[in-house]
């Protein structure tokens, strides 16, 4: 019989700061428990509202937010535009591959701190000049992490813990400018970094289907949204479609976000535009290029933002500006590999 019981012995160890970054959110699991007990909406009641109301009621200046999706894929664009329109300030952001979402909030000067893994680039599309400048100028305070570290920080919170041991970042400057702690395994002595649980004040996630209570389905990759939904103190859901509760109950295996995590639900068709929404529509690469180009000149950018965000009432107004259903249908063809 194999036996590893000898690993069970007393050890004196030292926890050491592994980096000089900042911890922007409270990792304490007991305080999070009390918040969840007292504030999470246990009532399965209708939570549909408007984007404007949701941003007014659930996002405050100074809040720290986590955004669903990845890069320009399945992002909650309508909520981000509304945050810009309402002039939200001093927002903290969890930046695991935040690209166009980061760009929108930087354009609105909403952000003042960022747990940063990847935010100034738009992947293959190139870099956002305003995003880059906001960080180079020190306008946005940053602490370094990696995509996995941020994912696991969400997971620690989703599990109701205050930390998670991880094996990335070790030995690098990424570690040095993070806010991880050095520790070791109680059994094997293996060296780990402990990352602090990340409980954002607000999570914002765009999904394929939700009922009016907030029971949600997502098709395709989940990115980190299962954990983000559980880690967030408040949660705003935008959905391509509102569906009857019986649709959810028909396939309970597909429910990735149950209603008791959700504070607000808004139906926003094409809500990830100009981002990609799997099985629905591809990203609008031309529009994203226009945006990047506009950043080369402050006046161009101001005009661009006026036209697409400040000058429209809501997200449907934005969709009108970019070419309405004709353009959206082109993106749907592209997504579904339909030869026009």
């Amino acid at each position: 019989m194999a036996d590893f019981t000898e690993l069970l012995k007393e050890k004196n160890v030292t926890y050491r700061p592994g980096g000089c970054g900042k911890i922007y959110t409270d990792p304490d699991a007991d305080r999070a428990r009390v918040y969840f007990r007292d504030q999470k909406p246990r009532k399965m009641v209708e939570k549909t509202t408007t984007v404007s109301e949701a941003v007014k009621n659930f996002v405050s200046d100074g809040d720290y937010i986590g955004i669903g999706g990845f890069g320009a894929n399945r992002i909650p664009t309508a909520v981000l535009h509304e945050m810009v329109r309402q002039g939200k300030k001093s927002i903290g952001l969890s930046g695991h591959t935040a690209t166009h979402d980061f760009q929108i909030l930087v354009a609105g000067k909403c952000i003042d701190r960022c747990d940063i893994a990847y935010v100034v680039g738009l992947e293959a599309r190139g870099l956002s000049k305003i995003a880059r400048t906001a960080i180079e100028s020190g306008e946005i305070d940053t602490t370094e992490w990696t995509n996995a570290a941020l994912t696991w920080r969400y997971k620690a919170a989703a599990m109701g813990l205050s930390f998670m041991p991880v094996r990335c970042m070790l030995g690098t400057d990424t570690q040095k400018f993070s806010a991880a702690m050095e520790m070791e395994c109680p059994f094997t002595g293996t060296r780990y970094l402990a990352v602090p649980a990340l409980y954002p004040d607000v999570g914002i996630i765009h999904v394929h289907r939700s009922d009016v209570y907030g029971n949600c389905q997502i098709d395709g990759i989940m990115v980190a949204d299962s954990d983000l939904a559980r880690a967030a103190k408040r949660l705003i859901i935008t959905t391509e479609r509102l569906v009857p509760n019986r649709v959810i109950r028909r396939e309970p295996t597909k429910t990735v976000i149950p209603y008791y995590l959700v504070d607000a639900v808004i139906e926003v068709p094409f809500g990830s535009y100009p981002g990609n929404m799997a099985y629905e529509y591809f990203s609008d690469e031309a529009h994203l290029r226009d945006w990047l180009k506009a950043e080369n000149d402050p006046e161009d950018l101001a005009a661009f933002l006026q036209r697409h965000i400040y000058g429209v009432k809501d997200f449907n107004g934005y969709l009108d500006q970019i070419g309405g259903m004709s353009r959206l249908q082109e993106l749907r063809y592209q997504e579904n590999l339909v030869e026009k």
Binding site: G69, F70, G71, A72, N73, R74, H96, T97, T99, I116, A117, Y118, V119, V120, G121, E123, A124, R125, R132, I135, E136, G138, E144, T146, N147, A148, T151, W152, K155, V166, R167, C168, M169, L170, G171, T172, D173, T174, F177, T190, R191, Y192, L193, D219, G220, I221, M222, V223, A224, D225, S226, D227, N276, M277, A278, Y279, F282, S283, E335, L337
Partner: protein, 256 residues
Amino acid sequence: MEYNDMELMICLASRYLEDDSIVVVGTGAPCAAAMLAQKLYSPRLMIMFEAGGIGPLLPSMPISVGDSRTFYRALAASSMPEIMETCQRGLVDYTFLGGAQIDQYGNINSTMIGEDYTAPRVRLPGSGGANDLGSLCWKTMMITPQDQRRFTEKIDFVTTPGYLTGPGAREKAGLPPGSGPYKVITNLCVIGFDDQSKRMKVESMHPGITKEKIIESTGFELLWSESVTVSDAPKEDELNILRNEVDPYRYIIGRG
């Protein structure tokens, strides 16, 4: 056949991806190399993307490692933790990274240029998943143009660990033993890592490239394999498939 630097690097890189292995790739040249390998050498190469896509039948080059192409008719559409944990668990053989600077131990900088973290001269995209993949996958490959600015004695920021300060340093830092940089494929040569010193060692020079050219394009002292060969130039079928099937719109190879 004529070819540009990007085509050269992609073709060479594709030859290192064994069949029946698992590779996590980003967009751009790495994805092109993996797709080319699948079509020519390693039909069962398993491609994963860090946002969750596993084993897609890629209809075209993805624009983002999270876009819907990365899980088109895939074996699984999973999640970022699922991919990262698969790497941490030791199931992923290869990954491909890029960066703005690299040193002789294969440490990579994709975070910033400058001296002061709080006021970088240039802020770069950052780690994203690069540090994770370079820490947790078994073999890290790099595709990068080679010049004095990029191949430098001291990089401004160690975003992703290579062999850190040399032999034993990864293990001492707590990184999984046995992992680390494997090959660097540049526009001039193919570089491996010396078993003893963990320093870069040139294995083959591309056709028409001299040792002097390589030395003057490198900001640190390179080791040289006892039997430096001449890299096999891109073959006609490689170039044809790369140009016609992998990247017909020249998104990537157009940059070469």
